[in-house]
Symmetry: C2
Subunit: 245 residues, 2 copies
């Protein structure tokens, strides 16, 4: 199993100003290539915190992704923090400057602030940004992505097929309008009988009615299907309709 | 300054199945009572990971909040993990049973799975759940809340005025349709001249137009206002309109 960690960098996420959506996107996308997102952090725009957290998390996961803090303003300190984490210098990357030149043709447009986005840690490789050209970068197993979702997504989509994963995690979900308490005992038995499937129960309230989504996850479709059969049978025997999700 | 950490517990968040919104709600609510959310974790439903992460984070923050994993099903292991973290037993709380009895009047309804939600770590105090009655709990500086947003919010709203905070963080935000690169230099100067305000720049694309929200945060309204005046002036001098947010 290949594992990943995501670090969301940004005071705005912690203050509640910005609702993050990058974690969900990365969790789904990593699943598709057989990499399992097993932990995430949200940290503030503080150089030492970023550097320390990156060093801790890159040592304990196969892949580490960061989002946020690679723009041109004073609060964009991720590249600097990553350089410190690796003990290397920031260097202006000619490839990054060339990429920005395709976007900003005059020297006036390609000002010092924009050029700051071409400074990456020594030894890092660029991650292509098809939207606004200012690149992300990868150094060892650390992938440094933008925070703006549309840019982050484009960067990740461009690199994800190069990640070396294991078998993709397959999931199935069956919902029903039965409260969790009424299916908990039988569901526990089903989990025990299908121990190679991870079965999750997620309660919801829809149109004022209480229900639960029962999610099966494993790397084997037949294994998931067998658990799904048992869950469908349980729902029917409790007098409700199984709803495939 | 009083600090807080949030731990979001749930495989479903890491797999990308569930888009979390609890972090944003807690970040905003904690701000209102002068507690600063300075870090967050997202971790899977694994007892040892929950216990270790809780012990690490409760030691390094004034307050720790967890969300998720306190329902009746086999994958709801948060109470057990917190008991392990504190080295205490789980005990069936008479107050929690009484609360559930107001909701479920017959013994058939108050089945063993529902009663499982009344098992809390020895020494913990209940957190009231006005929605579905099954309580959260608080032990020392750790507040254990539900994962379902409407229940989590009700639990937090009921307890937040009892938190001892410092001065609330005040924020102002001014947006403009200017790309960050064109205001980065002047904005850096404004940040340097107003060092007691934390100024963040958050780029956006709205209706296909590039812009940025400039957010000022400090505990003093006049300090924020002074920075806001400088930012408004900068935007006007660059030929755009300041938009109060």
């Amino acid at each position: 199993m290949k594992t990943a960690c995501v670090i969301l960098i940004g005071n705005d996420i912690l203050s509640g100003r910005t609702q993050d959506t990058n974690l969900t996107y990365l969790g789904q996308g990593l699943n598709e290539v057989g990499v399992r997102l097993i932990s995430a952090r949200v940290i503030p725009d503080v150089t030492e915190v970023i550097a320390d957290t990156v060093n801790e998390c890159r040592a304990t996961h196969d892949y580490l992704f960061t989002t946020g803090g690679i723009g041109p303003t004073h609060d964009d300190i991720t590249a600097d923090a990553i350089a410190k984490a690796f003990g290397v210098e920031l260097v202006r990357d000619p490839g990054a400057v060339a990429a920005l030149r395709t976007h900003y043709t005059s020297d006036d447009d390609l000002n010092e602030q924009r050029l700051k986005m071409c400074d990456i840690p020594q030894g890092a490789e660029l991650i292509h940004n098809p939207i606004s050209k200012a690149p992300g970068f990868c150094i060892e197993n650390v992938y440094v992505l933008a925070g703006v979702p549309v840019i982050m997504q484009a960067m990740f989509d461009g690199l994800k097929d190069n990640l070396v994963g294991g078998e993709p995690m397959l999931s199935r979900s069956i919902a029903c309008y039965i409260g969790e308490s009424l299916l908990a005992a039988r569901l526990g038995e089903i989990q025990a009988a299908h121990s190679s499937v991870e079965i999750g129960s997620y309660p919801f309230i829809r149109d004022g009615k209480l229900g639960a989504s029962l999610v099966m996850r494993s790397t084997d479709a037949a294994t998931n299907d067998a658990a799904a059969d048992a869950i469908r049978e349980m729902i029917l025997s409790l007098g409700a309709e199984p709803i495939e999700e």
